[in-house]
């Protein structure tokens, strides 16, 4: 008998989810994106509401938003996706043998895969009176309703717990007109997120708003009043305080009751592996109820990372792994700026940089270990929180930023965007993304209306930060302010694109180790999710292949962006621009005559002198390109490519009365040697003949300054989106040394930078010290790097000559008549 059933023709598998909260529903959303037809989905939710944004309960309590505002998935969403939804039904039993769950009203549902997303329960202090009317927790919409009702009838509220949740509850109740006292057992507030000085500042400003605090107080009893409702709170030291409403916010406990009763291994949470599976592999668990490597996360960012991995596994891809998260916190109390992340206390082997202005109410502390930022806490000025967090998450070497680190990103050379960097103070009509014309209001609206949580989501929906990326930090801040502090940050390791979970580094390593020569080989081996990648990963793969195996891996024109396929720059009207190479910015009367003749012959509408000392012919029709190139009879300028662009020079010692070196000839030599060099991004060079630096070498990827005794080499400069001054690498004596040291640096960049990272980004990541070690300290290594570059260049040919004179890829330039 043939037992096989063709894929997709048998009955669908059944997926049951217990718990209808943010982490669980996010998993379903991710799963529906990957495999919309794989499962029949059933969801049980104990609350009578569809999935809502629990983080925003605080603004609802404070009267700044309504319950309707915070619904993430309205009932329609469940309908549209054919999800069977059981609201107000609590699952009380899992029958693992029969593979079915049972709710308190008797509803049963069978499963092939079960997802436990039961979240957490508030911890209730085991003191006398804890069960009195008027004693509640702060966890769901029902709690918020109870608090709002109490605030209209009663006066004295006591919040037990001076952590994040307790303070948000206290703030909300105060806004609702109650007299609020916060009782806290610790010596200062929010001790899991703040150090003492920051906590004192926070306490002071909350006191100024009218909140009262009782620190280091242990609750002994909640006292019953005449009406039967709670009336006061008694402490172990004998003190007491009036209390008509008591909110317990002393922590949460993973809700593992159901899992434990069905025999699943639990240890401070339902224990899961890196693919979010419990000890029963048919049963997954994610969210606040799940314990991954001993940690049950309570913030939304890590939970969304888990959701992605879980969905991936449920969809049978099975290559994603969750490896834990670093989290950051922001308090959602209007008018209070507070941010903390990582290890902000510090300890052995760490150093701390402090900034304290108690009068101005600003306090910042950054903790550094081994030249990396490992934690920080900020109070009063959190503008750079997102930036610090990204430095921390990416483990960037900050030794070179150190002197300016405390003063924020603006201070570290950001000129591109008028220094606008304060999301919270921007008005809705102010422009955030200059490339796509997106205002703050557009972004806020999209975040609210579409329920966005990640930078990726915002990019897709609004286009903000999707072009040059200079506003990324700002968009992250707007996300943090709008979606509530703990928005989903990018995962610790960044995958290449949506087609794979592998990082750029892992892909490169696989290409090197396995000697892959074609894109399909890489995709098959590394289990790409898409049949042939996307417009983001294919050009990267193509570059990695040809740069790793020059002469062996074949360049794939179909995986090149159009400019590098047509070897000219596409313009907004679909015509192209042509920039022939002029070595070192030098030209001849004969070249200029040919350029003029070409412009006439092909009726080229615009001729412009570029910033890189060359001439640009704009508005060339694609079919004219081979003819234009043939008539110009000049080398390709590669102005269209992630490649060596221009080498800008000053006139140097041959003419200039100040010149100390022949910078023009040095520039010509550099350009001739590095001509045809493909790179992770464009590469610009310049050579000045004296320190007056007329060739502006400080903003080039490699800049050379001639001095009387030799040549100074600078690397990693950038004049684009974010102006960066090049850093001094080394001083050498001879032009040959200039070639070798510059070439070795460029080859290192070619071999190790991620695709689309400029030299400055590469340097930021690895640090100048690392580059010095490779180029200056290791003579053999430098020599080998330079040799590898020369070899890679020796197999490249001038693409214009191949196409204009040898008819290569003719079809690219011909239209078909019909």
């Amino acid at each position: 008998m043939d037992m096989s059933t063709p894929m997709g023709q048998g009955p669908k598998m059944k997926l049951v989810m217990v718990g209808n909260g943010m982490a669980g529903v996010r998993t379903l959303e991710e799963l529906l994106k990957l495999a919309p037809d794989l499962y029949d989905i059933t969801v049980f939710g104990a609350e009578p509401h569809p999935n809502y944004n629990r983080i925003l309960l605080s603004p609802v309590l404070a009267g700044e938003q309504t319950v309707d505002d915070i619904v993430l998935n309205p009932l329609d969403w469940y309908n549209q996706n054919n999800i069977t939804l059981h609201l107000g039904k609590k699952v009380v039993k899992i029958d693992r043998t029969a593979r079915a769950v049972e709710a308190d009203d008797g509803t049963r549902a069978g499963y092939d895969r079960l997802l436990l997303a039961t979240g957490s329960n508030p911890f209730i202090l085991p003191v006398p009176g804890a069960d009195l009317p008027g004693v509640i927790s702060f966890r769901d919409i029902a709690d918020v309703d109870a608090m709002i009702r109490a605030s209209s009838q009663y006066r004295h509220a006591v919040v037990i717990g001076g952590g994040l949740l307790g303070l948000e509850a206290a703030n909300g109740l105060m806004k609702r007109g109650m007299d609020v006292t916060v009782v806290h057992i610790g010596p200062w507030l929010m001790e899991r997120q703040l150090d003492e000085p920051a906590a004192r500042l926070l306490q002071k400003s909350l006191e100024e708003k009218g909140m009262k605090f009782l620190l280091q107080k242990q609750t002994a009893e909640l006292v019953k009043g005449e009406s039967g409702r709670v009336c006061s709170i008694k402490f172990k030291d004998g003190d007491s305080a009036p209390a008509d409403l008591v909110v317990m916010a002393v922590g949460i406990r993973p809700n593992t009751e159901l899992a434990e009763s069905s025999g699943l291994h639990c240890n401070r949470g339902i224990v899961v592996n890196d693919t979010m599976q419990t000890f029963d592999p048919r049963i997954y668990s994610i969210g606040e109820c799940a314990a991954h490597r001993g940690i049950a996360y309570g913030l939304v960012a890590p939970l969304f990372e888990q959701a992605k991995v879980c969905a991936n596994h449920l969809a049978h891809y099975g290559i994603g792994r969750y490896q834990g998260s670093i989290t950051s916190t922001k308090l959602k109390v209007t008018g209070i700026d507070l941010f903390s992340a990582g290890d902000f206390i510090g300890g052995e082997g760490t150093e701390a940089i402090l900034y304290s202005d108690p009068i101005g109410g600003v306090y910042k502390k950054l903790v550094i270990k081994d030249n990396k930022l490992v934690g920080g806490v900020m109070y009063g000025d959190t503008v750079d929180g997102a930036w610090y967090f990204s430095l921390l998450r990416d483990g960037k070497d900050v030794s070179e930023l150190r002197d300016h680190l405390m003063f924020g990103q603006d201070h570290c050379g950001n000129l591109g965007h008028q220094g606008i960097n304060k999301a919270a103070t921007m008005t809705d009509d102010m422009e955030v993304c200059g490339c796509n014309g997106v205002c703050k209001g557009d972004i806020v609206k999209a975040i609210r209306e579409k329920g966005l949580f990640t930078l990726e989501d915002v990019r897709k929906h609004t286009k903000a930060s999707s072009s040059c990326g200079s506003c990324t930090g700002l968009v992250e801040q707007i996300l943090a302010v709008t979606a509530g502090g703990d928005y989903s940050a990018t995962p610790k390791t960044k995958s290449m694109c949506g087609c794979t979970d592998h990082t750029h580094e892992a892909v490169r390593e696989a290409i090197r180790q396995n000697k892959f020569l074609t894109i399909p080989q890489v995709m098959t081996f590394m289990e790409w999710r898409t049949p042939n990648g996307c417009a983001s990963c294919r050009p990267a793969l193509n570059y990695y292949l040809i740069s790793t195996w020059p002469g062996e891996a074949e360049d794939d024109p179909q995986s090149r962006f159009i400019n590098e396929r047509a070897h000219a720059n596409i313009q907004k009207d679909g015509t192209y621009s042509v920039i022939p190479r002029m070595w070192g910015g030098q030209t001849t009367p004969s070249e200029l005559r040919r350029i003029a003749d070409v412009a006439d012959k092909y009726a080229i509408p615009s001729v412009k002198v570029t910033g890189g000392q060359r001439i640009d012919l704009l508005g060339v029709k694609k079919e004219d390109l081979p003819g234009v190139w043939a008539d110009l009879d000049m080398p390709s300028g590669h102005a269209y490519g992630k490649a060596l662009r221009t080498v800008k020079t000053c006139v140097g010692s041959e003419w200039c009365r100040f010149g100390t070196q022949d910078s023009t000839q040095m520039g010509i030599d550099l350009e001739k040697v590095f001509f045809k060099m493909w790179a992770p991004h464009k590469v610009k060079l310049a050579v000045s003949g004296c320190p007056r630096n007329c060739a502006e070498v400080a903003i080039k990827d490699v800049g050379i300054i001639g001095v009387d005794s030799g040549w100074e080499i600078y690397v990693g400069g950038n004049g684009g989106i974010k102006t960066e001054v090049a850093q001094f690498l080394v001083k050498v004596k001879t032009p040959d040394e200039v070639l070798e040291y510059s070439g070795a640096f460029l080859q290192l960049y070619r071999e190790e930078a991620r695709y689309l990272d400029r030299t400055v980004h590469y340097l930021e990541r690895v640090g100048l010290d690392y580059v010095k070690k490779k180029i200056l300290d290791d003579n053999e290594g430098r020599h080998a790097l330079y040799e590898r570059l020369l070899f890679a260049l020796s197999v490249e040919r001038d693409p214009w000559v191949e196409r204009a004179k040898e008819g290569k890829l003719k079809h690219e330039f011909e239209t078909v008549a019909a």
Binding site: N436, K450, K460, H461, K463, S466, S467, T530, P531, N532, G533, C534, A535, R538, P539, P557, Q558, S559, F561, I562, R565, A566, I570, K572, G574, H811, T815, V816, A817, A818
Partner: protein, 110 residues
């Protein structure tokens, strides 16, 4: 009435690529996927008119070279959340040759 016309050989279009077919003043992008399926769309991105024929083809999609909109080859429509569609034209593959229906082209070009 249909007016199917033999336009070009399948092998004249690179795999994961496109060719531009010009009919009067109308440019049509004819795409070829990795599995040798062919699709024909007006060579104008619904966003800002970018030439789709110049984009990178992947799966059954093309990414516009101007602002990276992703367009589905079988419908001509942008992938959400972007909105808009490029006009699609009937195309067929017979005996390794690519055929277009000139009558529909003429209607649009006119």
């Amino acid at each position: 009435m249909n007016q199917w016309t033999d336009i070009l050989d399948l092998n004249d279009i690179p795999k994961l690529g496109a060719r531009v077919v010009r009919h009067g003043n109308l440019d049509i992008a004819v795409f070829r996927t990795a599995d040798d399926e062919v699709f024909a769309l007006e060579d104008r991105c619904p966003h800002k008119g970018g030439p789709l024929s110049q984009g990178i083809v992947h799966g059954k999609k093309v990414t516009c070279p101007m602002h990276n909109w992703n367009i589905e080859l079988d419908s001509g429509c942008a992938i959400a959340p972007d909105q808009g569609c490029a006009r699609e034209f009937p195309v067929k593959l017979e005996g390794g040759r690519v055929w277009l229906d000139l009558s529909t082209l003429a209607r649009v070009a006119a």
